[in-house]
């Protein structure tokens, strides 16, 4: 079963390895090494898509990533993936692809009626027509338009079916982008100089344009072998440089070869983040389309693409091609196809040229001084109408494809992102870019140097410049290599558009015509960037690579100014569509965010804890697999009645040492620490410089010049950074050493009326009586044989101690405490019970320290020291921060004991139910009393003690009566903690 289009042996295809695939349900066969596009062309499939807006039939236009039309959905085991480029998608056995944007089928598409209505659907049509009524845009117009327009269909691929991906970080002295003759020569020269080089090319093989010219095979093979032998050079085929991100950082997407993908567990793409000191942009040049009526018919392709399909895959894109061109370079395709026995005709806008003479000598029919006025046919090119440039002589040529070439634009996308300015080059009718020397060099066709040999020499020269800059000067050029000579050429004659009555496209992917560009100009959108947004020219995934300059030229003509004055639109990353999975890399699922685990994580898990994520931490919420409050209340009750133990190792801990430690803490905290005695702890609050609360916690003085600061779990990282910043930026002369000891110390709170007896049983050498070790005492001690620290501090409101030991001894100490507490029925309690206890006591946590509360709001104004400077002192004195109508901390209780409280419940006055007076920040069922209790921030809350408000949650359709009470709902005299 030989495919009809396969006429020769391709450079990349293996005739002995047929590959079966399906396109739109039809079984076809290609060869190993084919792209999907090559295999479709070999099978004579010319119609591959319907266009974005007009649903016109479209075929394959290019042979590479610049393809505007041949986008397909690929259906794999993991689902449907839209917008894959047929021109780069490597064929594999069993590939299933479907065309896009058609219904019900590709050949018969209902919405092709849009094309007949085309004169009513110009650029800007949507904006003008679907203006009123305003509501209709979102609900009616947009959904309709979205169904009619658009490309592939997106289906979520979730869970284990999602393709694996990874990110790799690379470093090089020089990144060479593009492995044509310029890139190869540059990489080789740089590599031999000892510089570390990365050579990236989007193609599956290195060589670029030299792959199309058999005379260059020997040179290419010798250079590739040379590169492979250089330890300093890494060659990355299949790797597209996606963008330049400044400071020598580049993003690149590498598609893995099938064998490598298999070794990496099915990994398909790899995102490379490359850091390079210099870059060589040897990105080549892209052939341009010509805007003429019917230039989007299937069968109209770029001339160079036809050349590539023949050389690379042995596929003839047609048997009766007509070329439409304006430069000698484009004749290379003519010579190749003609040499393969295909009967070609050429329409050249120039009267005569050196290449035309050579073509005629080969027997090719050349129509000089003529242009193509239109391509005709239903669903594909059948005939081409040619007109003399004088406009008098017309003739029709039979053709099955039209191969156009409007000249070559140096690929300056990357250079533009690197800040290069574009310069118009009349000789090649295109813009070129120049890089700043500190960034790198342009080389070869990317710099407007056309011809393989000229490009190779240019690459070599760019490499010499860079090597000298990077202090690795190289010797004279290799005399041994003779480059095949470039042919002499007649210059290009610029040709952008052949005007006619029918649609001539400048952007095939977004269906933008030359007439749309002129309309944009008439409407006042004259700047090229405005034209882009008005028409969407160049806004599709191909970013207008083959038609961008043509659009600029049409605009220039409409404005009556030279093209260089109009310029080109600015290209942005990414150079090609990138799957989100590749950007996410390995940081997905369990690796999405680090999880911090407690030293006793395994113990908690074995004890049946349900875990909760708070920040990065995994903390035991309750030691029960069941939902509901019963288990929580049992844990909390044990603390109130006897004793419990909880793991508070998540607290931030900062070791502060040095002669100025106390002075420093007095600057950092609003509370005073200089007056703290050794062996004592003190609760402190910390403000931001704007006067709002940042964090709170206890600080202990272990020695005259040694403090231990604890922070809240939530603010541990931010607090350390806050302290480091102010120590270095504001008080650098203070001699203080800060060390993060958060992970070093495990810390347990042993709380409840029996806690003294339990702690006494495990602590050696420390008298725990109220006199010897009163509330807020701190001391080093030996705990269950381990050198640790004991603090008499309480978050629960009960008599309590916190024991700190090095984390590696956590299990031994925790177990010893449990053993000692057995006779009192000690039970571990989780975060929920901890919360219940502290809410009853009126202690604040991150819910109240929310960044919007001042010390006065939380009733802590008295804690701000009266004398001496501290962060936030000046601005905390602003009258607005102590205004009586501010939200202030209060306790709340439902009047009906059966009612529950919710966090976030809005508090309103019974007579003004739509004006929020505040909200509930924390709530819990109480163990100390019946029903629920909570903390709330209420406008002028302290004046409202005893008032009744309504707690309302519109989303739950709830409204309950609430009483405002003091936040100190438990033991307001603080007797228990001093027991």
């Amino acid at each position: 079963m030989r495919a009809p289009g396969r006429i020769a042996r391709g450079l990349l295809t293996d005739p002995d390895r047929p590959v079966g695939f399906r396109f739109d349900g039809r079984s076809m066969q290609g060869l190993a090494g084919d792209t999907l596009a090559a295999a479709l062309l070999a099978n004579g499939q010319r119609l591959v898509a319907r266009s974005f807006k007009y649903h016109r039939p479209r075929g394959i236009v290019t042979a590479g990533p610049e393809e505007p039309c041949a986008l397909v959905d690929v259906i794999g085991v993991s689902g449907r993936e839209p917008n894959r480029l047929a021109t780069t998608l490597l064929l594999h056995e069993g590939l299933v692809a479907e065309s896009q944007n058609r219904w019900p089928s590709l050949r018969f598409d209902v919405l092709a009626v849009n094309d007949l209505m085309g004169r009513f659907l110009p650029a800007g049509f949507y904006y003008k027509t679907f203006m009123a009524p305003g509501w209709a845009w979102e609900r009616l117009y947009e959904p309709l338009i979205r169904r009619a327009a658009g490309l592939g269909r997106l289906e979520a691929i979730v869970g284990d079916h999602a393709a694996p991906a990874e990110t790799v970080h690379d470093h090089a002295d020089v990144l060479v982008v593009g492995a044509g003759t310029a890139g190869l020569a540059a990489a080789h020269r740089l590599g031999t100089s000892g510089l570390k080089v990365m050579l990236a090319d989007q193609d599956v093989v290195l060589g670029g344009g030299s792959l199309l010219d058999a005379r260059w095979s020997a040179w290419r093979e010798s250079l590739c072998a040379g590169l492979a032998g250089l330890a300093t050079v890494r060659c990355l085929p299949r790797t597209t440089v996606l963008g330049a991100y400044g400071h020598g950082v580049f993003g690149a997407l590498e598609t893995l070869s099938p064998p490598e993908a298999a070794r990496f567990d099915g990994l398909r793409e790899r995102l490379r983040i490359i850091r390079a000191r210099r870059v060589v942009c040897a990105t080549g040049a892209l052939e341009r389309l010509i805007a003429f009526p019917g230039n989007d018919l299937p069968g109209v392709m770029l001339a160079g693409a036809a050349h590539q399909y023949l050389r690379r895959y042995g596929v003839a894109v047609g048997r009766r091609p007509v070329f439409f061109l304006n430069s000698d370079e484009a004749y290379e395709a003519v010579f190749a196809l003609s040499g393969a026995g295909i009967e070609c005709a050429v329409v050249d806008v120039r009267e005569s040229s050196l290449a035309a003479e050579r073509a005629r000598a080969l027997g090719v029919e050349v129509h000089g001084g003529a242009v193509v006025e239109g391509a005709y046919g239903r669903d594909g090119v059948r005939a081409v109408r040619v007109v003399d440039v004088t406009g008098r002589a017309r003739r029709e040529l039979a053709a099955d494809c039209l191969l156009m070439s409007g000249g070559y634009s140096p690929a300056t996308t990357l250079a533009s992102q690197l800040g290069a300015r574009l310069t118009w080059q009349e000789a090649i009718a295109a813009f070129t870019a120049d890089l700043a020397p500190a960034i790198g060099q342009m080389a070869g066709a990317a710099r407007g140097v056309f011809g393989l040999a000229a490009a190779a020499r240019d690459g070599e020269s760019a490499a010499r410049t860079l090597a000298a800059q990077l202090a690795r000067p190289v010797g004279a050029a290799d005399p041994g290599v003779d480059l095949p000579p470039d042919a002499d050429v007649t210059p290009i004659a610029a040709l952008w558009e052949v005007r006619g009555p029918a649609k001539a496209f400048v952007d095939l992917q977004n269906d933008v015509t030359a007439a749309d560009v002129r309309l944009s100009c008439r409407e006042g959108y004259e700047h090229v960037e405005h034209m882009k947004r008005f028409t969407t020219h160049g806004m599709a995934t191909d970013q207008g690579r083959i038609g961008g300059l043509v659009g600029s030229a049409v605009l220039a003509q409409a404005r009556g100014v030279p093209l260089w004055q109009v310029g080109q639109t600015r290209p942005r990353p990414f150079a090609q569509p990138v799957p989100f999975a590749a950007l996410a890399g390995g940081e997905v699922r369990e690796h999405y965010r680090p999880k911090r685990r407690l030293p006793l994580h395994d113990w908690h898990e074995a004890a049946g804890a349900t875990f909760v994520s708070t920040g990065l931490w995994l903390r035991p919420l309750v030691y029960s697999p069941r939902q509901g409050w019963e288990a929580v209340l049992n844990e909390a009750r044990a603390v109130r009645r006897s004793v419990g133990i909880t793991d508070v190792s998540t607290l931030g801990k900062i070791d502060v040492q040095g002669p100025d430690a106390a002075r420093f803490l007095d600057f950092i905290y609003a509370s005073s620490f200089a007056t703290l005695a050794v062996g004592r702890a003190r609760y402190g609050i910390m403000l931001r410089e704007d006067g709002m609360l940042l964090d709170d916690g206890t600080t202990s003085r272990l020695a005259p010049e040694h403090f231990l600061v604890t922070t809240t779990t939530a603010n541990a990282t931010a607090t350390l950074e806050h302290m480091e910043f102010h120590l270095q930026a504001v008080w650098p002369r203070l001699d203080v050493l800060l060390t993060d000891v958060g992970d070093q110390w495990a810390q347990f709170a042993v709380a409840g009326p029996r806690s003294r007896e339990v702690v006494a049983a495990v602590v050696a050498g420390l008298e725990l009586s109220n006199e010897a070790f009163p509330f807020m005492a701190a001391s080093v001690a030996t705990i269950a044989g381990v050198a640790g620290r004991v603090f008499r501090i309480s978050f629960s409101g009960e008599l309590a101690y916190e024991l700190a030991v090095p984390a590696r001894h956590a299990l031994a100490v925790w177990s010893a405490v449990l053993e000692a507490g057995k006779r009192f029925g000690i039970a571990p309690y989780g975060l929920d019970a901890l919360n219940t206890l502290r809410i009853e006591k009126g202690h604040v946590t991150a819910a109240e320290l929310n960044g919007n509360t001042s010390a006065d709001d939380l009733g802590m104004q008295r804690m701000l020291k009266k004398h001496g400077d501290f962060i936030g002192r000046a601005l905390s004195q602003r009258p607005g921060l102590t205004a009586p109508e501010r939200l202030q901390l209060v306790g709340v209780r439902p009047l009906a004991r059966a009612h529950r409280l919710r966090n976030g419940l809005q508090l309103v006055a019974p007579e003004a139910r739509t004006t929020s007076l505040g909200y509930v920040t924390s709530s819990t069922p109480s163990v100390e009393s019946d029903g629920w209790v909570g903390l709330a921030l209420v406008a002028g809350g302290r004046r409202r003690l005893g008032q009744r408000l309504i707690g309302t949650s519109p989303v739950h359709d709830e409204a309950i009566e609430i009483e405002i009470v003091s936040p100190h709902m438990l033991d307001p005299e603080n007797l228990r903690v001093r027991a």
Binding site: G246, G248, R275, E689, D690, E721, V730, P732, R873, A874
Partner: protein
Amino acid sequence: MLRIPCPWCGERDETEFRYRGDASKVRPAADAGLAAFTAYVYERDNHCGWHLEWWLHVGGCRRLLKVVRHTLSHEIHAVGGPEDQLSPPPGLTR
């Protein structure tokens, strides 16, 4: 992505650092008054050109760096410690 040449660690990716704002702002003396502190906390230039700024190298040496960066080109002209007096390149402000 910025690559910041840390004087202690060498050139590192921006992701290792925490931006800490305008380094030209100096904390007023304790008795400077409300207006001075308001300016210190709230008033910032938003200019196109060279900017003196703080970066804390949390992912490396944990030192605070003073950086002279161009807000348009992102070019980094100089990096030093808090004690260093850094200034933009002469004649290149814009």
